[in-house]
Point group: C2
């Protein structure tokens, strides 16, 4: 396998000023996988769902060439469920429901044929689960990317610090970077976090773009300026999937490739927010992606 | 004259988490002029100060080749005074004092030799004053840039709407763009504002960079990622001065030139925030500016 993804596969229920969904397909692993599937193949996902998870969604992953051998179905359990409501500014949201269900006892098992995957994406999960996945790899992946959140900084600091020493790229948002480092300045925060383990730090700033820190350098990818942000759910995970999907396709981990990957991540995320859930991600074509990338080039290109 | 600037020349007193200044040189016109003076010459300023305004500051403008014929000194009046205190995040501030003093009766008179200036920068002032300046021009400038703020949207809407029809470029921040247009999406806000008069709209997002909207296109200039933001006062005006200073030097008003100008504005602003007041703007050299511009190029350059 080329790209191994570990992350939640879930039911989401989302309310935005534009409307309300019923129970739809969601989860970090889902968005990461679907985004990456536009850019590379040989993708494998490790996750867990309940007996209530529709066969059509499992088929969907397979249609997208995502291997689901490692997607455990707990027949007598229920799938992880998250419900949230976005405020008018679409930048803040309230979590209404978090039913862990089968996720509470998730013990990830990486299928034998995925233990030599070249690239590993650790979606936002308990740091100890992320660690157990890394330990099952038989060959050290060329690049391990991990996502995390403030919640784990609050309740699993020591575990988080340990996993940080095992990965290459950390993706967090600006507030999380400040909390993790204790520094308000993002430049100072980045310098401190880069001493904790990762070689690269990505700071996601939502509608304000994303920063990639490496040694003393910083690269910036803007977010697309859209007429409507319809539903921001999954944007960060789509970003990660686009980012690592591009790297897996290029099979290169240089700073230059990671810069391009940041643009791909930002481009993919700009699609996800245009419709509810995974709707847009499922309908776009390679041509749509190429077109959007050109818009990014135009948005920042200048010649001094 | 090449560049005519109308804007406040003031005393500021600033408190940040890093310390507190006494009364120092401030004002929109000051920052615009000093920033532009690094990039072009034949600059003229129209403003008003009181008899308490030190001769050394007048000399400073002249040293920087800024013509002060239009800087009226009201001998028995006091100079406009603003005092503010920044919060810990440096993004929000409380205004502690606003003493308009001589600014309350400011009636701008453009000196005869500046009435054919090619470029005109209208700093943030009562819209009616901005209008009186435009009306004194004998030749329509090649580009008129105006700054404004939410305060004028609240108390002088009709005047503001009228001036908007007379200018080419409007510079405001994101919240002001939303208020002016009644649209939350910046893309929608921009489309609406571009029907109000200006051909170009610049939306300043502080530490998140700046957007230039033109027809159906959008260009993005990031803000420099700095270890320390020491004092944000004057950053927006420095940005405008760098922007129009560059345009005056190139003597060109194409979209391509305006894109570059946005980068110059962002680069100049990144200096201002590094020290209190105008301190950093007064000490930098052409070499410092060139170096900073290269950092901007590196920050956004990618090759897909």
């Amino acid at each position: 396998m080329s790209l191994l993804i570990v992350g939640t596969v879930a039911f989401d229920e989302v309310e935005t000023p534009f409307g309300k969904t019923g129970k739809i397909l969601g989860g970090a692993g889902t968005y990461i996988g679907l985004a990456a599937s536009h850019l590379t193949d040989q993708i494998s996902i490790v996750s867990v769902v309940g007996g209530d998870f529709p066969k059509k969604y499992l088929d969907l992953f397979r249609e997208k060439n995502i291997d689901t051998t490692g997607l455990k179905v707990v027949e007598d359990g229920k799938t992880f469920f998250w419900a949230g409501k976005y405020h008018l500014d679409m930048n803040t949201r309230d979590t209404l429901v978090t039913d862990l269900n089968v996720l509470a006892d998730f013990d990830p098992v990486v299928p034998q044929h995925a233990r030599n995957s070249k690239y590993l994406m650790l979606g936002n999960l308990t740091p100890s689960i992320q660690k157990r996945v890394i330990e099952q790899m038989e060959t050290r992946p060329k690049l391990i990317v991990m996502d995390t959140m403030n919640f784990w900084m609050n309740i699993a600091w020591d575990d988080l610090m340990e996993v940080l020493t095992m990965v290459d790229v950390l993706t967090i948002n600006d507030e999380e970077a400040r909390q993790l480092s204790g520094e308000h300045s993002l430049m100072k925060a980045a310098k401190k976090i880069l001493t904790m383990g990762p070689r690269y730090l990505i700071v996601k700033k939502g509608e304000h773009g994303a920063l990639l820190f490496y040694e003393n350098q910083v690269f910036f990818a803007p977010a697309m300026i859209l007429e409507n942000v319809f539903d921001p759910t999954g944007a960060g995970d789509t970003f990660a999937g686009g980012f690592l999907g591009y790297i897996a396709r290029k099979d290169d981990t240089s700073f230059e490739t990671l810069k391009n990957a940041l643009i791909y991540g930002s481009a993919m995320a700009s699609f996800t927010v245009e419709k509810f859930g995974t709707d847009r991600l499922l309908e776009i074509t390679g041509e749509d992606i190429e077109e959007r990338l050109l818009e990014f080039v135009k948005m920042v290109a200048f010649k001094i």
